[in-house]
Amino acid sequence: MSVVLSIQGLTKAYKPGVPVLKGIDLDFDERGLTAIIGSSGTGKSTLVRIINRLVDPGDGTIVFKGEDLSRIHGRQLRELRRRIGMVFQEYNLVERLSVMENLLCGRLGYLSPLKAWLRRFPQEDIEHAYQLLDVIGLSNFANQRADSLSGGQRQRVGIARALMQRPELLLADEPTSSLDPKTSVEIMELLKSQGEDNKIPVLVNMHDVELAKRFADRIVGMTGGRVVFDGLPSRLTDDHLKLIYGGEGWLQ
């Protein structure tokens, strides 16, 4: 399989002298769900946000399908972003817009601002949005306002919005951390199946080790801004977990 995303020697420091990422080297294939695990503050979120440049990288290169995206800006950056879908921990839906409008937001990168102001979306996009509502099981919610939905429903809309972009890569920044265990499993199932159906790689960063083991094809463990484990979930041992999260009392 060919490499879709290649990160080499990536560093990041929000404050000079206090690095959050200390040299990350990771390659991602064109398929499969990768879970990035680690305790809070180890830079997993920063890593995911650097990939679609919501956070600017320090040193290093990030090559996405042959294009180095670590230094692009303006139009080039927008054209990159629309090829990468993103799902957020707190869903980040536009609360006062309807579910349908939130889904169509996923197409804004492809629509001229004038058409966006006039709400003139192509018929094709609207049909795609209805199909996705079917997929996420919210067909009857198209005209409901986003703030009237439950957490799990909102995250489904968040995923559908990202899929509206017809992305070539799907990022999820702690998509289940604000949800109950049952809903978390449903959201992970949705991310996994959509990655497979659309034949795109999915990068999920998360706390929950069991959830990661259950759904991931590959696990990346991070601690202190470095990758300390990278491999199949079945190879992740308690020793690795001690290294990733520190201590061992919590494992009993």
Partner: protein
Amino acid sequence: MSSASIPAARPFESSLGAKLLALFILAYACYALGQLDFSWPRFVKGIDNGARFLDRMFPPSFKNWDQLLTGFIESMQIAVLATFFGVLISLPIAILGARNLMPSWATWPARLIVTLCRAFNPVIVAIIFIKAVGFGALAGVLALVMGSIGFVGKLFMEAIEEISMKQIEAIRATGAPFASVVAFGVLPQVMGRLVGFCTYQLDANLRNSTMVGIVGAGGIGGTLFAAFQRFEYDFVLAILITIIAVVLLGELLANYVKRIFNGES
């Protein structure tokens, strides 16, 4: 035992500075009163004058109702036009001035414009515009447009600075250009409040439009001033009653509009 050790407590003891300041304010008030030649006989004479003035106001005369109507229609037009254009211009200025969306090279000029528009009372601005574009409604509209930019622009800017950046971040992550981020991320979050500001401003402009007429910038204010100069005090009262009625009506209308929008959200 601890209460015994506390010296005679005076919890509200004022400082020497505060006392001196109070004394100074009192002294200055007396001095100013003397300077401006307020005296008891003059006050009594004034009351007498006022009584005669009030006497000539009654009963109010609506016989020049056509003048009254023409003046009011012009005032309404000034208020509506000024609100419309004021809000229209405020929108881009407020977006440029919002510190959470724009870099500082854009925010400070936008903020300067808004501050300048707020610096003067509409009547002073009206006088300046009368010198610039001549007597009449145009000067009134321009003066109130400036006032509206100063007021709505500032409130709107603050509303934009309070929006949730998470929603903006999500729209940006889809690769949307800035104008689309405004349409789908910013405006939905502030629309309800914007409608509120517009009704406030229409209400304020309705009142201000009666005022700018006094200096010659069109509307009922001009009619009022002319009536004063012709000593037609009964007509003056008629105009005043109508202004009160219209302002009250405007307030009812504003409440009604706000109820519609609050009910919806």
